[in-house]
Structure formats: structure tokens, C-alpha cells
Amino acid sequence: MLEQAPPVCLELHRVSMSFGGQPVLKDINLVVREGEIVGLIGPNGAGKTMLFNLIAGVYHASQGSIRYRGQETTRWPPHRLCHAGLARTFQVPRPFPEMTALENVLLGLMFGKIDGPAADAAKEQAGELLALVGLDHKTDTPAGKLTLSEQRRLEVARALATRPHLLLLDEIAAGLSPQAVGQVARLVKKLHRQGINLMIIDHFLNLTLKVCHRLVALDEGEIIMAGEPGQVIRHPEVVAAYLGTRE
Amino acid sequence: MWRWTQILVAGGALGSFYALVALGFSLIFGVTHAFNLAYGEFILLSGYLAYFLWKSWGLPFYGTIPVCLVVMPGAALLLHLFLRRVRSPFEINSLVATFGLALVLQNLMLALFSADYRLIQPEAFPFLHLPATGLTITDKQFGLLTFSLAATLLVHLLLRHTFLGKALRATIQEREAAELAGINVNRMGWLAFAFGGLLIGLAGPMYGQTMYIYPAGGVEATLIAITITIFAGVGRTRSLLLGGWLVGLAEAAAAMWLGGSWKELVSALLLITLLVVRPSGLAGRDGNHKP
């Protein structure tokens, strides 16, 4: 119990965000430690994806600071955060539609680190990553022609290609069958064993309960509860938020 | 002092005309999302039609307007037939296709009418003259003002107070919801082009008697239409009128102080400024283009 807590990977300190005068996130404090899988839950419009956008540098917080691996990254652009080892997937997949699945992953390999390889040199690795997410039979299919769930898996492969230290997964298991969720859960655990820290947005809680060490519940831009998964989902405030009856 | 008034008169007349020009573009763009870069060329075609009716057939100037009002909607409907076949991504493809169409029409006009500058009724008569002040309103300016404002008012009434206008506005604001509400969006597209054609038909002769028509002159009119549409938002007649006046006044002021040939810079600079300051521009309401 008294062992030292692992070092901090990501720290959000009093982060607020507003869009056109409308507050979207209010005073968020959040820590992700090395070796953790953190789930982010909450009803629609709670600000989960916006939180990801702030961490990944798509938008910059109106107030507060974000520190990633000891560096102040609040105003960093996305590509710089990527080079520092942060990767994400998008809620609505954003593949490069005209490129093949392999080329999509190649781009991650080429640009994910500053000294990335040239296209020809990385094909083998890209194939391995596609195999990891079960897309090795679609190597030469244009990404725009893949199904939604294939595009999601492609995004994971592409994000992994940047060799991340912290991976943000946005609704990766939404709408999947129980077996498919099981597969995703196994993949997540595998990545975790390889030393990748993860944050997972999961509105329907079908994946987070299987893999997360800790849950953070958001509602209307505020953290209403954080802690052990079992406690969080039984907490009356969280239940009320999901039912839409929270004051 | 009276110089200011003169700018106000010239700019007001010109600006009302620009609002008329923008109205057609905005209606077509709003309903069908077609970026019509050949819009100015259509106005020129209408202008040439009026010019030759006046010059070769001896029709009085105001007699040319009804002919243009009949011919141009037909041309606009043909354009709709053409644009309906453009594949997705529709906006950028319609932009490139109409850019090509503009090129075709420019060269067609060059082949048919040569590169000469033409003006309908070159001589203008003072309609109102106040000798004490030096203020003059020509008959051309008066006609321009009356016809433009009347057309704008009619479109405004149509959009605000008729069932058809409400359906058009619904389509402009929320295409899919309009469809769900039982509006035939397809038919609205045809109607928008027909009304746009009427407005082009009116704008052509006005253009031909106010400024010189020549084959390469259409880009200017297109830029003005787009500028005002972006300024005002789609299908909002009052803002369009305001935008037209602002552009007209800016051009009149530039022509007065810097010389007539500088006024072409005004619309280009305004358009760039609007695009840079409001990059979401026309699509602002869709929410697709968050910052």
C-alpha cells in the first residue's frame, strides 16, 4: 500500500475550455500515471471528445495547463505531440480515403517520429501492424472502401505506427458485437503489456469495464466522479447523469 | 460636402444593383450549394443580348428587359441541368466545372462579339439636377436604383410572405429537415435557378447600360456576387442589400479618389478580407467547419 505511486504520464491542471462564450469543459483536473488504462465515460455532450482534442492539441485550452511526460504541452500543435509519443483515434474514423490500408499505416510510420523511415523501407512493418488489428487481407483496399469497423481498426493500426507512449482511443468499441468487443479488449490488454498507456472514451461502458483500471465520469464539462470502475458506475451521480436526471 | 453626396448617390445606385446581382447568386447557391463561377458570364450574356436588341433591332432600352427576362431563366435552367450531373464532392467539383464553363462562355463571347467594350445608350441624361449644389442624378442611376430595389423587394416579399418562399428558405437553412418536412428539394432547386435566371435577366441590361460589357468582364461580377453573399449569408435579402450598398459605396469612393480603374480592386480585397476573417463563411450555419 505504501509503495511509491508510478510516475505521472499526463496531467491536466484546472483545464477549462469554452467555444463562442459557451463553456464546454470546466476546471478539469486529471492525472494518468505510467502503466494505467483510464476510461472516460459520460453521457453525450459531456465533453469527452473535447477533452481528447485538448490533450491531442487539436484545440488549445482557454485556461489551465496540460503536462505530458514532464513537459508543458498546453499549446503544442498535434504533430509535435505525436512526435512526443501521443497518438489518438477519432470517434468518426478519418482514414485517408484514397490511399490503401497499407499506405495509411505507412504514413504513421513515416511521420510518427521525426526520423521516420522512407515509404519503401517501412512496408513490412506496416503489414505487421495491419495483421495485428486483423486487416492483413485488406492491405491494398482503399481505406474509403472499408467498413466502419474496419476503418476503426485501421485507425488503431495507424496510431500504433507512430509508436505511441500514450494512446487515446475514442469510442473504439461503439456498436460492436460482444465477440468483437472481446477482441478489442484483448488487443487493448496486449498493447498495455507492451508498455503503452491508454485513455479510452467509452460511452456505453462495454469496453471500459473489461480493461480499465480507473474510470473518470464527465457530465456537462465537469468531472463528477473518478476512481475504481465498480464504484464509479454505481455512484448515484453517475447513474443520474446517464439517466439525465442529475441536477 | 456635396462630393460626399455625389458618392452617396453613385454608390447607392451601384450598390443596389450589386445587391440585385448577389441576390441571384445567393438564391442559387443557398438552395443547391452550387458554386457558380460562371455567374458573371451569364449576366454578360444577358447584357450582350440586350445590347444587340438595342443596337441591331432598335428596341428601346426598357424594351430589352422583357426579352432577357424570358431568355435567361431558360439558360439558367440549362445550367441547372448541367450542374445536376456533377459528382461529389459537389462543392469543389461544381466550382471547377463552372470555372471551365466560365472559360467556355468567355471564349464564346470573344468569338461572337469580339473583344470590344460596349455600352448600351452611352449618353446619360440628368434626371434630377440641383444647380446650387452640383449634385446630379442621371436617368441611368435612377433606373438602376428603381429596378434593383423593386426586384429586391419582390424577392424579399416572396421569401418572407409566400408559402413557396418559406419552402425555399427552409431548403436553404436545413436541406435534410426540409426534405423530411415534405418539401420537394429537387423542385426547389429548379425554382431557385428559375428565379436566379429572372434576376440575371434583369441584371444584364442594367449592367450593359451602367458599365462596359466585354468578354472578360464576368469575373468582376462573379466576385462581387460572392463577396456580398459571404458578407450577408445566404438568402437574407436585407443583409444582401446592406452588403451591396457597402460594396457600391466603397467602389464609388475608390473611383472618386483614386480613379475609376482602381475600383476593380475593391471587390477582390473585400472578398479576401471576408474569407480570411470569416473562414467558415457561407457554411457557418452547417457546423461542418468548426474553427
Binding site: F90, F96, M99, L107, G108, F111, I196 | F35, L265
Partner: protein
């Protein structure tokens, strides 16, 4: 990462090897060979030297445009760079009397300078809005040059610009001004150089990043592509090359006027040639230029002295309607974007 091999990357092929490995090098070789060899069979064909030489010239302009289009920037205003390059070079030659070998690159830098301004002001504009802004951006230099008569001779145009100088390669003297055949070979060589550059851009790491930006900007940024810098550099190179073409044009023609070099026609031409030829293939803009320009000049121009350029409008419309990816799509067996 355990599941992913950590083998050292294979040594990179250089671009020449990669060119030989591409599916289309035989076509490039055949076209190049034909262009190189036909003058041997028809030594006296001045009209053809001129038309094919200009086709090569417009091929370079089309490739300049395509470098920006590779990143998704569909420009409707490349004549701005062309015109500034022409005026920059022409005015320097007129006032300073410098050789075209000096003034053309300097003129190109004037074009690139305007490209920098685009990069600063249009950096947030994409797609249709970028297109509109570029269309309007042509008017600014045009109206200024038109009105600044005391310096630029305004709408009267700048006349008497010196022609290209003679080249001396060892003992051989090539008179670009006097011999249309020499000029043809010069323009052909220029096109080959630009073609090599175009190939390099498309297949380099940077070019991959540009394609990613075109396909999805947010995803590209998230994968580590520096969107702003990559796009800016594409704009810079594109505007420099377009300016170079403009400078060359001024000395080829000997006279320029604002309505000629800042025309809608010159903005449309590279776009039409590239999209018709296929902007996703490095040969596309070249083939577009080599097919369309001679068609326009040799077949249509005699029948329609005014307005023959309508063909470019017709072609771009047909391309958008029937084969939006251009001619060169049928070259690749696989549907792919390079």
C-alpha cells in the same frame, strides 16, 4: 513494441531507382524519346517546334500548379504568380539591363514572395474557400500594375523585353533567340528537369505528407505531419515555379501586358492540363499539356482564331463529368493515389 519487428530499415533507394521501379517509366521513356527524336526526321518544321516547345512550357506550369494541388490546394489564381514573375523579370531587364539568366530567377522570387503572402493570409482556408480567395488574389497585382503606369507602363504593356541569350556549352553555341529548334530543345530539357522535380516531390517523404493533408488534414496532423509547414513549402515551390514560367514567358514573347499575364486563361490552363492529364500521377500534367496544347494550337486555332481557348473549358467540364481522376488513371493497374 514487441509484436513489431525492430529490424533496421532497408537502405533507401534513390529516386532514379525508384523511377525505374515505377509502372510508368516505359511510357515516360517513349514520350521522351519521341519528343527528342522527331526533329531529326523533320528538320524544317518551325510551327511544330514552336507549338511543341510551348506545350513543354505549359507542362512545366501545370506541374507547378500540381505541386500545390497535391496538398489539396486547388488554386484558381496561379496567373498571379505567372504575371508577377513576368513583370518582375521584364521590369528588371528593362530598367537594369541585366541578362535574362539573372532576371528570370529574380522574377520567380517575386512570384514566390506573393506565394508567401498567400501562405500567411490563406493558411486557414481550404477547399472551395481557398479557390475563391486565389481567384480574387489575381486582381490585386493586376490592378496595381495596370494603374502604376509611370513604372510598369500600365495597360499599354511592357515592350522590347530582350530575348533569351545564347547558350554556350564548350565549343557549341546554341542560339535560343534565333533558332526555334534550339528553343524547342531548351524547353524540352526544362520540362524534363521539372518532370524529375515533380516525380521527386510526389515520391518524397514530404510529398507523402502533402497527400495525407489533402486526404484528411486532422488525421495527418495527428500522425505527425507538420501541416502548416508542409503546405507552406508546397505553396512556395509552386509559386516559385509558376513565377519562373512567367519570367521565361516575358522573354520568349518580348512584350507583356497586365490583361495578358494576369488572365483567367493562364489561371485555368495549368488546372485544366493537370486535371485532364490526371493530377495524381507525376506524368499527368505533362501528358495533359502535350496532348491538349497542340490540339488547341494546331487543330482548332486555324478554324477559330478568336475563342479557340474554349476547348480548355470544354475539356475540364468533360473531365470532371466523365473521368474525374484524369487520363493517367488507366496507366496504373492498381487504383492508387500516386
Amino acid at each position: 513494441m514487441g509484436t513489431i519487428s525492430r529490424k533496421p530499415y532497408r537502405k533507401q533507394n534513390n529516386f532514379f531507382c525508384r523511377f525505374l521501379a515505377s509502372e510508368t517509366w516505359p511510357l515516360a521513356a517513349v514520350v521522351g524519346g519521341l519528343l527528342l527524336a522527331w526533329p531529326l526526321c523533320f528538320p524544317k518544321a518551325d510551327l511544330y517546334y514552336q507549338v511543341l516547345g510551348m506545350a513543354c512550357f505549359y507542362g512545366v506550369l501545370a506541374m507547378a500548379w500540381n505541386i500545390l494541388a497535391l496538398a489539396g490546394g486547388i488554386s484558381l489564381g496561379h496567373s498571379a504568380f505567372f504575371g508577377l514573375g513576368a513583370y518582375g523579370s521584364g521590369l528588371l531587364a528593362h530598367y537594369q539591363g541585366w541578362s535574362p539568366a539573372v532576371t528570370i530567377p529574380l522574377g520567380a522570387m517575386v512570384g514566390a514572395g506573393y506565394g508567401v503572402l498567400w501562405g500567411i493570409f490563406f493558411q486557414r482556408l481550404r477547399g472551395v474557400y481557398f479557390g475563391l480567395a486565389t481567384l480574387a488574389a489575381v486582381e490585386i497585382p493586376r490592378v496595381i500594375i495596370d494603374n502604376w503606369g509611370s513604372f510598369t507602363y500600365g495597360s499599354l504593356g511592357l515592350v522590347g523585353i530582350p530575348g533569351l541569350p545564347d547558350l554556350r556549352l564548350g565549343a557549341v553555341e546554341i542560339s535560343l533567340g534565333a533558332s526555334l529548334r534550339a528553343l524547342y530543345y531548351f524547353l524540352l530539357a526544362l520540362m524534363c528537369l521539372a518532370g524529375a522535380l515533380h516525380f521527386w516531390v510526389m515520391h518524397s517523404r514530404w510529398g507523402w505528407g502533402l497527400r495525407a493533408i489533402r486526404e484528411n488534414e486532422a488525421a495527418a496532423a495527428m500522425l505527425g505531419v507538420n501541416v502548416r509547414r508542409s503546405f507552406f513549402l508546397a505553396l512556395l515551390l509552386s509559386s516559385f515555379l509558376a513565377g519562373l514560367c512567367g519570367g521565361l514567358y516575358a522573354h520568349l514573347l518580348g512584350l507583356i501586358e497586365p490583361a495578358l499575364v494576369f488572365s483567367l486563361h493562364l489561371s485555368a490552363l495549368p488546372l485544366v492540363l493537370s486535371i485532364f492529364g490526371g493530377r495524381f500521377h507525376f506524368l499527368g500534367p505533362l501528358l495533359g499539356a502535350l496532348l491538349l496544347y497542340p490540339l488547341d494550337q494546331l487543330v482548332l486555332q486555324p478554324y477559330l482564331p478568336m475563342g479557340h481557348a474554349a476547348i480548355y473549358g470544354v475539356v475540364i467540364i468533360a473531365t470532371i463529368f466523365f473521368w474525374p481522376r484524369g487520363l493517367t488513371t488507366c496507366l496504373s493497374k492498381r487504383r492508387r493515389s500516386v
